[in-house]
Subunit: 160 residues, 4 copies
């Protein structure tokens, strides 16, 4: 059902991991890349008190944030060299409370266009070998070519 | 255009602020309630390095997380006593990079049903008196009556 | 990946087909039920001039309308007796132009709750044995119990 | 709150109405343009049996289809000459049953980018001077420049 994607950048693995490493927010929430293939990305993080809501579950906003990042990197793995990724929009449905000690987000590209990429993604809360499906969502990512992912560019650069 | 809502709980202000105060994630990202009225909630936070992406802007996932929380509390302000709030789903469009020193999310209830509430919300990045519109979104929140917002309930409780 | 669902109404096949037959809009666009299982529904229709946009493809609005109906009936197949179905919200991504002579929408339930059902659905344009993936979407359906699907109920009945 | 938009095509009114007139589906459902300004479009249609669901209300799929078209033309009114419009994705929330004799969809552009436009839109069912808010939604439209809106182009043209 899901397409078999060829990377447009042979160096995609390095490019994605390098971009991920430069995101302070990913370090702040303790996320790591658990799996990376062309068009597929899994991110994970461990529970700590600052990431929960009033019932002790992972906060829904955090769950969607991690999943958004997984979706962004699943798409970015298919981008050509010298490009950067921007979330255009996304939609998420919360299926079950994110109760567990580890949170995992898994994103797979559905359509790789020239400018727009569509990604399907899910989040799971894991604990003691059990896995709960917390969230399912659809993400649209833009491919900005000729833009460096590395410099801190100004506001005028991104005219989508 | 937006409805004038009557709170179903006269104590709504206390109830919302109390729930907010019990969310570790809100403290972790440094968010506070900047405005609260029946059917309306504004949350804000200050930039710190851990909240940014690779270009130094607020991370998109964080922007949607803050906005989701504002939407939840805008709805919760209209809930009856002895109820709790759950995000059913949401959709966000990113309009401009979240470049600024302060992030603000503003949510207003569009429809207050018996079980489901629909909320419209926007996020803005502010700096030196200037304001950029970063995100607009639609949120569906569920009203769970007869459930305490306070206890750390188990997984079986929430059968939506 | 998708759950194996048990119908809550042994008569689900009749109930769904009966509801479908009472929808004038389905007859107007020429749709039929091509497959029906617990938690799964496929609808199809043939191209006629009144269903196209300016380029001769199926109109995007029609594509989403057919998919919404497939999603509604996929969920309805899992509802208990004496209930009716209501679309709460949906989100669709258009992947490719709906170019073909037949349009097919396929919906599968992802989560069957007590009140809310989440459904994943796709649309395909078919022609000469070829199939194009036009649309992917997520749908939230409400289960209204104790409401007849058959009577023309008044506006006060549906207080979601 | 909504921006004041300058059309990029002085002939926008003619261009939009001409495109609308070439959509067989709009004629099929009996829709007309009720209001058109730069960045704003209202479409309306009258109830007839073929447009309703099992309770006699406008079918939800039809409501979203009309609103999608209003959103497309609100955006198209701001496009440069020699361009065409494509719905990238949309999300709708159903607020109340579409009970009435006339259906109206009103769309306003929120963000006019270079490639992507974001539009906010609502649908109303009207009867005897009363108006019910049926749907609210967010739409992303793509601006394809250098593509004719008029020819029946092939499948390879649209590589989004």
């Amino acid at each position: 059902m899901l397409a078999d994607f060829k990377p447009r950048n042979p160096d995609y693995d390095h490019v994605v991991r390098d971009s991920f490493a430069r995101q302070p927010y990913m370090a702040d929430i303790g996320a790591w890349i658990d799996r990376l293939e062309p068009g597929l990305c899994e991110l994970a993080l461990e529970r700590r008190p600052g990431l929960t809501q009033q019932h002790g579950f992972f906060h829904g906003g955090l769950v969607s944030a991690l999943t958004d990042s997984a979706a962004g990197y699943a798409c970015y793995s298919l981008y050509p060299p010298d490009s950067t990724v921007l979330t255009t929009e996304f939609k998420v449905n919360f299926l079950n409370p994110a109760q567990g000690t580890r949170l995992r987000a898994r994103a797979q590209v559905v359509k790789a266009g020239k400018t727009l990429f569509v990604c399907q993604a899910d989040a799971y809360a894991e604990e003691s070998g059990e896995r709960r499906h917390c969230l399912t969502g659809l993400f649209t990512m833009m491919c900005l070519t000729g833009k460096s992912d590395q410099v801190n560019f100004g506001r005028d650069v991104v005219s989508t």
